[in-house]
Amino acid sequence: MMNKLIFGRYIPGNSLIHQMDPRAKLFASFYFIGIIFLANNWQTYLLLAAFTFFAIYLSKINLVFFVRGLKALIGLILFTVFLQVFFTNGGTIYWQWWIFRLTEYGVTNGIFIFCRFVLIIFMSTLLTLTTLPLELSDAIESLLKPLKALKLPVHEFSLMLSIALRYVPTLMDETEKIMNAQRARGVDFSEGNLIQKMKAIIPLLIPLFVSSFTRAIDLAYAMEARGYQGGDGRTKYRKLEWQLLDTITILVFVLLTALLILLRK
């Protein structure tokens, strides 16, 4: 079950992308999603695609894993592309039937939407494949800091996030373990109709809830026993370091934006 889940996993490595400051990576990923909407012709899409593949090349991770990450979302992508292709008006009409209409604009729009999806997914997969979950949560905390002025509980939020991320693998293992135990008692998770399958989930879900709550209580006690009282006055052990590489990346993104604006119609 867990074998297919590539998106959201970390592949250890020592490439340039791995070494970047997680804040820079997180910011760059969101920024990329922003500027992808600037692209509106084939030159701009080509530029963005070249940029994405160059980033993947730099990460030294096999392209196969990115393509696999795409598989989970292929339904959504095709659905959107389908809507774009058959419900866009304008340009030469190639084919028409009932409410469906294949037009010149529709086809180009479809292709662009497809590229947009793929590039966004590739970029976010690149982020998670090259960044440790803990680094990511540090980066989020750091980027959210300005919100403290608005009285938002940034510390609590980031603590929640790092605990949640820390327990994803543990819960995955636990799920696997309970699933095996119930399979050994005759539960079939993959057979039967929808209702039977949903019923088979109960022996998995209830023990998982129980163990999560038990674990939360134990962890809370253990944290208090070690002197935790909340965010005020706490120091940080893991410090993020902004390097030349990160500045360069940001500059590259500025350059990319300028090029996009220049090339778009």
């Binding site: 996993r9 991770i61 135990a181 119930q182 050994a184 008692r185 005759g186 079939d188 163990s211």
Partner: protein
């Protein structure tokens, strides 16, 4: 029902960067009615191996024969239920698998999955609960209100209720107090002796191996590195210490005596054997 492994390899998540090879060329046989122990370090592949015993995992190479059924890498996941009924597995900390509202329902869950009627399953639940040392008053209670040790018993009862021919135990006494530990092992021993249940025990406790097992497989880094009866295995003391597996308490004591000049033709494994040997040698000395 015999279980036989022939040149079994197993790899987790093959062809991904997370690929991990857990078993290498495993050959072993668990004979009907035997008490087999699996020992080895954490991460030596014990848990992976035992999941092959009821086809929760399929070998990536080689074959596993479970009674009549032969499991190969090509075997599909259908119709494995009969195997799971015959081979019951009690996983580590089995209390985490409890989920029903009452103890009775939870124990009856397994049998019902294998087609036993509700009435019959309830009767089985009642009987098995007695077997694990809890009285009938527990039947209507919620499993989550019980103590850790009681939950463990209920979970084990849930597996016993399926009336398996082979029972696989993955450190069944981990985290129990000494009394509970002894009661539980005695219970398994009784089942083994009285009902001819085939037992497979995964353990770190060499005393349990010495007391109960009639054959031992030692695993290291996914390979079987030594096998034999406990008395054969525990003669090679240096090897066991080198592998950090240790020897039974009685054997340790005998080794101390050996340093002081006492001689043993064969190192005793249990306190009883040690006592007998000491009495015998003293007797000879007196004459």
């Amino acid at each position: 029902m015999d279980i036989r492994f022939e040149q079994v390899d197993f790899t987790y998540q093959p062809n991904t960067p997370f690929e991990y090879r857990a078993l290498f060329d495993i050959n072993l046989a668990i004979k009907e009615g035997s008490f087999t122990a699996l020992i080895g370090h954490t991460g030596s592949g014990k848990s992976t191996l035992l999941q092959h015993l009821n086809a929760l995992l399929k070998p990536t190479k080689g074959t596993v024969s479970i009674g009549e059924r032969v499991i190969t890498p090509q075997t599909d996941n259908k119709n494995l239920k009969p195997i799971r009924k015959k081979v019951g597995i009690v996983f580590q900390f089995p209390e985490s698998q409890l989920f029903e509202e009452t103890v009775e329902k939870d124990i009856a869950f397994g049998p019902q999955n294998f087609g036993v009627s509700l009435e019959e399953a309830k009767q089985i639940a009642k009987d098995t609960l007695k077997l694990v040392g809890l009285d009938e008053s527990y039947l209507e209670r919620s499993p989550f209100d019980l103590s850790g040790g009681q939950m463990r018993r209920v979970a084990i009862a849930g597996v016993l209720a399926m009336q398996p021919e082979v029972l696989v135990l993955d450190e069944p006494t981990a985290g129990l107090d000494p009394q509970g530990r002894k009661e539980m092992m005695d219970m398994f021993w009784r089942l083994h002796k009285e009902r001819g249940l085939t037992l497979v025990l995964v353990t770190h406790l060499m005393d349990d191996v010495a007391d109960y097992a009639d054959y031992v497989y030692a695993l290291e880094k996914g390979r079987v590195v030594k096998e034999g009866t406990p008395s054969e295995l525990f003669q090679d003391v240096d090897w066991l210490y080198e592998k950090q597996l240790g020897v039974p308490t009685a054997t340790q004591f005998a080794l101390k005596l050996q340093e002081k000049g006492m001689k043993f033709a064969q190192l005793p494994l249990t306190p009883q054997a040690l006592a007998d040997e000491i009495i015998r040698q003293r007797g000879e000395g007196d004459e």
